[in-house]
Amino acid sequence: MSAEGFFRLADRLWEGLAPKEVLFCGLDGEASDFVRLNQGRIRQAGAVHSQSLDLTLIQGGRQVTGGCDLSGDPAADLALAKDLLGRLRERLPQVPEDPYLNHSETPSAGEHLPESSLPPPAEALAELVAAAEGLDLVGIWASGELYSGLASSLGHRHWHAGASFNLDWSCYLGGDKAVKAVYAGTHWDPAVLGARLDEVRQALNVMARPARSIPPGRYRAYLAPQALKELTDMLGWGGFDLKSHRTHQTPLLRLVRGERALSPALGLHEDHARGLLPRFTAEGFLTPDRVDLIVGGAYRDCLVDARSGKEYGVAVNAAGGSPESLAMDPGEIPRGEALARLGEGLAVGNLWYCNWSDPNDCRITGMTRFATFWVEGGEAVAPLSVMRFDDSLYHILGDRLEGLTRERELMLSADTYGGRSSDSCLLPGALVDGLTLTL
């Protein structure tokens, strides 16, 4: 659906509103191609075209919300939207007034249409299959257009649309010995794909050496940005949202209470200005360029969505309570020197399946996965069999954090639950003087 089509639909809905009714309309859509690969060949290929409308009907301090799939045909979609609106109108008198109802009263407008250059997906797939000749490549190609819109009967009108691709893959030698890689963006370049495949082939040379098994214990470790992302993703699970803080559920409770500390080198920020996500919330609020979450290792601000903002009397600064555009401050270690600084220990390329071991102590468990190597004399000498870690972030990003790399990596989410994600994060690598392996 185009911006014009969405705003026309919304305008037609305003026509039927009662004098004191307020209506917010949100639209999310995608026209995506998804191709799964296994053994360097197409396992499953297809396309998904979807668009869904969300309505919030407000009157007299009450609100009800609802959503429906749209077809793309203007007349049919107007009928679907009117039917949904009618059902919401029937429900409105049955719900009590909502003390935490919170929406923008100030009309605003905006449009964000970043440029892109994508090949026909079938062409890109043919290039990939040819370039990966001889590799046991498994993964997914996802590409196409994503769009989001917001309109309200108060006058809000926003549109955010763009096309992108995300090739998320790994190459296997056998068993669970593999190297993972990603190529994602808005401008496809076969030369970049070729370079990434060359890097994978080089890493596979080390991976081909006999795997080393090490006993549980505490080891020095270098966490690549992709591995660090798994840990910051865990922090995003209740670590920063205002409601979790006010109800003492945040895993950073002991940091906030002053009982535990993070490294003074640690800075975390929600970087709304990165521009990959809409700058408007469903309630019509605009997000600031940046929210400082942790500065110098100390807690600074929470992410505040509209409902929590009203409940606790704090200004709205995010669409939800979890980071969507996280950035970590860089450090001083040149990335090329990270393994030399490590000396002996683990070079962890990826972590996997993290979960809270004890959230009261910010303790996380998870697995090493893909390219994780044993390092001696600053050189990766052998792949490591997968190991389970169980450790607190107050150690990993606290008293055992030796430093962060100067270079950071921008990672675009490959998540597709409920649609292609536009989340991203910008992270350095981390050198840690002790990661506890348990199994």
Partner: protein, 480 residues
């Protein structure tokens, strides 16, 4: 369902030439009501509908999903599916003539005694207000909520071979949560059906004792604040069905998925320590371990007449007396692997293609009462309600955490312990199974957020299990 049938007829009239096609139409309606700290959250209603078109042509197979159910929209979807079928024919992993064809005609209607619409929104909110209020028993309860969810799915699968499978599922899901805090210790407790989902209507509210369970939930959250940490060491472990669900799910269900064994999931969900040659001989667990794929348990989350590729679903043993018998693979995976399987090609919605999933994976009852299991423990811990799960990509090295633990000493149940967890290795853990509860102790539960697949899919899967006793497991508590 009539509207879906009309749409399928329109598609059949305009379907392009193909060796085989199917259209899977899905109409969904869901609703969520919640009261948190005495305040009703915004009432949320959702209506979804769309079509998944699959086309097999010239040795290739492709799919296209669309929410545009007009003739033009369906025709466009068929063209896109055809384009991808052509690409698959050139670059595919397998010959699409392996793709399963279905001519089955079946119906499934999930059990509903009291329809969701039999109670108004205001009455449901009143009920939730009462349950929520009953959680607020102490100032140390810092967050509390009660909710009711409802999800109705109508699905029609029609194929060019004359297949026509109409299925309707309905879920009513009550739940409670209390969060207790004192100083820097926070404990959560769930109940009222929060982790006890089944198919059904409003009768699930009574079955889950939504209102009546509130006091227990709040009391236990408070008691956990003062409880000692779970001890660390190797000891016996009794898992209640609320944790057995995750243990079965992660370390039996996922490793047996045939698409993992075939390597399809290696980039995301992972592979499996199970290999094709293990079926028929491999000792997965002790003699007490019997595990079935059972689509016929009334009310279990994934009970159905057929899977989403049109294969009729029937009960089968996966593990019998501890020996591995067959994988969880749908018809396509069976053809690719040359192994037997079950009807488990499932999709999360109209916008995703079917892949190998768990459906209902159940651990069959044994002969002992819960008291009998506890009586055989000299030193151990009983654990209740999963709160944390983690396992490696081969589904071998796992670690789980639970909301509540109780010490067991000399065959007697003792006091609470907090932050209980345990870890182990699938390949050896099930061999330490030394006691299985009887039919009276079995509970029909499941998991509502099983994630897998590229593109990602989250589905409901059912797990029925009794409590079980495991010997000499590595157990631990919280803290640094």
């Amino acid at each position: 369902m009539q509207q879906l049938a009309d749409t399928a007829r329109r598609f059949a009239a305009l379907a392009p030439a193909a060796d085989y096609w199917s259209i899977r139409l899905v109409a969904e309606e869901s609703e969520h009501l919640e009261v948190r700290q005495g305040v009703a959250e915004p009432s949320a209603l959702s209506l979804g509908r769309g079509a998944m078109v699959t086309l097999v042509r010239n040795g290739g197979v492709g799919y296209a999903a669309t929410s545009d159910l007009s003739d033009a929209g369906l025709a466009a979807a068929a063209r896109r599916a055809g384009d991808w079928a052509e690409a698959h024919a050139r670059l595919g992993l397998f010959d699409a003539r392996l793709y399963p064809r279905s001519g089955a005609c079946l119906d499934y209607q999930g059990p509903v005694v009291e329809p969701w619409g039999g109670m108004g929104v205001a009455d449901k909110l009143d009920l939730l207000q009462g349950a929520c209020g009953a959680l607020a028993i102490d100032d140390r309860i810092v967050d509390w909520s009660a909710w009711l969810g409802h999800w109705r799915v109508n699905q029609l699968l029609v194929t060019s071979d004359g297949g026509c499978i109409a299925q309707a599922w309905e879920y009513t899901e009550p739940g409670l949560m209390a969060v207790a805090n004192e100083g820097s210790q926070t404990q959560r407790r769930h109940g009222g059906g929060a982790d006890w989902s089944q198919q059904g209507g409003l009768e699930r509210i009574t079955a889950c004792a939504l209102r009546e369970d509130a006091r227990r939930v709040a009391d236990e959250a408070l008691a956990l604040l003062a409880a000692p940490e779970c001890p660390t060491g190797h000891m016996d472990l009794v898992l209640l069905p609320s944790q057995m669900v995750l243990q079965i799910h992660e370390s039996i269900g996922h490793p047996l998925e045939l698409d993992r064994i075939l390597g399809d999931e290696r980039n995301y969900a992972g592979t499996s320590f199970v290999t094709p040659e293990m079926f028929g001989t491999y000792r997965y667990g002790s003699e007490l371990l019997d595990v079935t794929f059972d689509p016929g348990v009334p009310g279990e989350l994934a009970s159905a007449a057929a899977d989403d590729a049109g294969t009729p679903a029937t009960r089968a043993y996966l593990i019998r007396r501890g020996v591995l018998e067959r994988p969880l693979g749908g018809a396509l995976s069976q053809a690719r692997a040359g192994l037997p399987g079950v009807a488990n090609a499932r999709a999360s919605g109209w916008d995703r293609p079917p892949i190998d999933r768990m459906a209902n994976i159940n651990l069959e009852p044994g002969t002992e009462s819960l008291a009998g299991l506890i009586a055989r423990v000299e030193r151990g811990v009983l654990m209740d309600t999963n709160r944390s799960w983690s396992i490696d990509d081969s589904r071998n090295k796992f670690q789980f955490g639970c909301e509540l633990g109780r010490l067991i000493q000399n065959g007697e149940l003792g006091g609470l312990v907090r932050n209980p967890g345990y870890r182990g290795i699938s390949a050896s853990f099930w061999r330490s199974l030394d006691g299985v509860g009887d039919a009276a102790t079995r509970e029909v539960r499941g998991v509502r957020n099983c994630g897998k697949g590229e593109p990602n899919q989250s589905v409901y899967v059912g797990h029925a299990a009794p409590p079980c006793l495991f010997r000499q497991v590595s157990v631990f508590g919280g803290g640094q």
